[in-house]
């Protein structure tokens, strides 16, 4: 309920801001909104969009969460990598809600233009699709998971209701849940989904997302290891009931897409990001 309220108030905030900044701000927001809902050219088209263009409307081109804090800004390939599905989903929900995350990219000119791997991948995909005559995939905003969440949020449903709704739909196989959002009990981590949406919506209106509080509490363990020249801090976390990899990433890094950092550091334990088990002791790399 609290989150639904937060979303609603953000939404109102945006509307007020739009009314106040009508001459240019309003026009741009509208334009972005249109391209978010109408973006039907898939990845192939995105390859040729100018940097800073509205590439966010595109499922694959969605870059990672961009906090304003330069320290947390350091883009890590792996994190961008697998975080894509979560970011895409979050943006998709926001698009469904009418909050255009596209405005995020407008003031950030670094939208992947400096990423050779991205350019190479997009070119390769264009080549593959041209050759095989495959259409580029449809944008993700029609995703049933996103629609479901957006609908529930707009109806002002409580967190508990949304949680039950998502788990039922997932149980019936109606929605595909990103792997990092599966908890140790095999449930959908609704809490993290909703926090991520709030964080994105906050960013979309140009506010800063508060940095995560210093991790502590249940299951956190810090060890100092003395090396020849320095002391290295090792952090561990024991999986609690209800944890998903995404939730742990938010807990330690404040960024859901960082779950890959944890996953990669614990490949020996985890066969897949959705195979978390209560009691597992995960290494939390320092970033």
């Amino acid at each position: 309920m609290f989150r639904a309220l937060a979303i609603a108030s953000l939404f109102t905030g945006i509307t007020v801001a739009l009314v106040l900044l009508q001459p240019d701000g309003g026009a741009r927001f509208d334009a972005d909104g249109v391209s978010v809902t109408r973006a039907s050219d898939g990845l192939a088209g995105a390859a040729y969009l100018p940097a800073g263009g509205n590439v966010l409307a595109n499922p694959i081109a969605a870059p990672e969460n961009r906090p304003q804090d330069p320290q947390r800004r350091t883009p890590e390939r792996a994190a961008t990598a697998a975080g894509t599905d979560l970011q895409t989903m979050t943006r998709g929900v926001l698009a469904e809600l009418g909050v255009a995350p596209g405005s995020l990219a407008a003031n950030d000119g670094t939208d992947g233009a400096d990423d050779p791997l991205r350019a190479m991948s997009l070119d390769a995909l264009t080549g593959l699709r041209n050759f095989t005559g495959q259409p580029a995939p449809a944008p993700a905003q029609g995703d049933p998971l996103q629609k479901l969440i957006a609908k529930a949020l707009m109806a002002g449903q409580s967190d508990a209701y949304i949680d039950a709704l998502l788990n039922e739909a997932a149980g019936r196989g109606e929605i595909a849940v990103p792997r990092a959002l599966v908890t140790a009990e095999g449930r959908v981590d609704t809490h993290v989904i909703l926090s991520s949406i709030v964080a994105q919506a906050t960013l979309a209106v140009g506010q800063e997302v508060p940095a995560p509080s210093v991790p502590g509490g249940d299951g956190v363990e810090v060890r100092m290891v003395q090396r020849a020249d320095k002391t290295v801090e090792h952090m561990f976390y024991t999986v609690n009931s209800g944890d998903s990899l995404g939730a742990i990433a938010v807990k330690f890094y404040g960024d859901i897409s960082r779950y890959t950092t944890i996953y990669e550091a614990n490949r020996g334990l985890l066969s897949s990001p959705d195979r978390l088990r209560v009691g597992q002791r995960l290494v939390i790399p320092t970033i």
Partner: protein, 210 residues
Amino acid sequence: MLRRFGLVCLFVSIATLPAHAESVRITQDIEARTITLNGAQIVIDRIQDSENRLEGDFTRTSRPCPPFCITPMTVAPGVVTLGELEVMDFLEARVAAGDGLLLDSRLPEFFAKGTIPGAINLPFATLDPANPYRDEILKALGATLTGSQWDFSQVRQLAIFCNGPWCDQAPLAIRHLLQAGYPAEKLSYYRGGMQVWLQLGLSTHVPNGG
């Protein structure tokens, strides 16, 4: 009389020269292979100048290893290794039929300089598990993702090459694909690569340039 005979001989030999033009054949029975891909015809034959020699980079013998080490004949269990004739067969039987792809796994700047006719560029780096767009590439190859479960049953048959037996990019691409779950029987490795293809004077194609 003798001089006239000599002139006649010279004339005859010049006149019959074009008849010898296709003296560098692919095999004894096959002069050239013509394959229709996506409505466009590609012709693979060999350079007819029997004095032609390679120039430039592909004449080098001793690139430092690592990284340019000699690759094994079989890159992974179940992955068939192809020669030039099999690559042409693959183009005709698989690529032309729409269920196979000949992939140049080198970086785009190498691909742009010239590749095997009918090949498309899929740089090895794009298949690295750390590449955020890799899943999209797997999908473009025919894999489908349901929830967290990949289905590779409908994927295309691939023949992958790079610069040749001293180049690990194609083997690396194959290892990445296998690691992702791509079935070994859907993969093949053209070990000779550009090195051997050029050495045999076979036709190349310069993408977007002719």
